[in-house]
């Protein structure tokens, strides 16, 4: 007794599962995300003033942590002012500070979040900005 048929089926299932991403992509390249920072609010600023509250690299890696902290500081501790590393002060507010410049949630936030299947729960409480479909 060998049960060869069953073993072969098992092997095919295994190979199918582990090579699934290859088959799924079908060799097609997908566009890489390209978050846009060209909102009217940003374009209004002078070239050298187009800066976020912290440097870009820091924001890229830590924005989620920062937003989390802002929430805690504002909602739980009642602080509303954030002093950045360069000494400038900002009001800690997702809707009034962050989204003021980055009013393009779809092209800014969602671009990468969708790509990496991250679903932030910001909008469980905050009202999503209304954007015109472009």
């Amino acid at each position: 007794m060998y049960n060869g048929g069953k073993i072969i089926i098992g092997v095919i299932i295994f190979v199918g599962l582990v090579t699934f991403p290859f088959l799924y992509s079908g060799g097609k390249t997908t566009a890489k995300p390209d978050p846009k920072v060209d909102t009217p609010e940003i374009l209004k600023l002078a070239e050298n003033e187009r800066k976020c509250v912290e440097p870009k690299a820091y924001m890229k890696g830590e924005h989620m942590k920062m937003l989390n902290e802002w929430r805690d500081w504002v909602v739980r501790d009642g602080n509303t002012i954030y002093t950045a590393t360069n000494g400038k002060q900002y009001t800690m507010s997702l809707q009034n500070t962050c989204m003021k410049c980055h009013s393009n949630k779809k092209k800014f936030c969602d671009e990468c979040h969708n790509y990496t299947a991250v679903k932030p729960y910001c909008w469980d409480c905050h009202i999503e900005p209304k954007e015109k479909e472009s």
């Binding site: 991403p21 790509y115 990496t116 679903k119």
Partner: protein
Amino acid sequence: MGLLFSFFTVIALIVIVFIGVNGANLHYLFGVLIPYATFLAFIIGIVYKVVQWGRIPVPFRIPTTAGQEESFPWVKQNKIDNPSTSLGVIIRMAFEVLLFRSLFRNTKAELREGPKLSYGSTKWLWLGGLAFHWTFLIILIRHFRLFLEPVPVPIKILESLDGFFQVGAPVLYLTDLIFLGAVTFLFLRRVIIPQMRYISLAADYFPLFLIFAIGFTGVLMRYFLKTDVVGIKQMTLGLITFKPVFPEGIGIIFYIHLFLVSALFVYFPMSKLMHMAGVFLSPTRNLANNNRAAMHVNPWNYPVKVHTYEEYEDDFREKMKSVGIPVEKE
């Protein structure tokens, strides 16, 4: 000896990739060539081993029967632990593979004064093993978000369930916590219980260290050191479409993680980790106990030399006749 050897082997692997990527700039080697080669070795190795097992016959039907066999209609059969049909076997195997039913039976023997032996139920190994394997699987499936574009809905659902408690940002995955805890438990019981330490080989410690290191670098990368996950997905998609790219800003921690996974790929098929495939082929579990009702064929069954009745009668004819036992030849 096995413990230290395994520990330093894993450390050495980390040092190699550190020097290779940060020192010698071998991004292509560690980011493309080695992952491709080891992944191929993983698949081929496993298929080779399974085919090797498959080519060996199962000469006898030897299920370990763990309940009442099929008998009279008025005797209740344990159809799962002692199946007599293929369906029963499938259920038995499903329990075994998905829920570790045999390990669930585990007991601990204790000898007290008297002497008095008792066998208490002990579920820790079962629980630890189950936690380890299931979280490993979920983590693996979760990783598919980095290999598939667009990301399929089930994977998104799995991920949001895993981060259900919304602790911190990035959201803490429960499986990460349980996984590292379970690996630690499996390691600790090996070093703390004297009998376990006694039976443990390098081949037992090495995968534990390696898998822990994989989990740990993953956790570091996600929660602490941070690396450009968008860049990583570009890279993984590049790999699966055979158009490798190296986006800027991918930290060494990612290369370490990837290289350790590559090491696991190579190690897997030639190690005890093959129990993953082997459990499906185990003749004491995957056969129905219908031995007397259906014939199991052994392909190498061969005629053997026997002592025939004629020879027997020749030896004992007179004695048989003397007590009135009928004989063939008078």
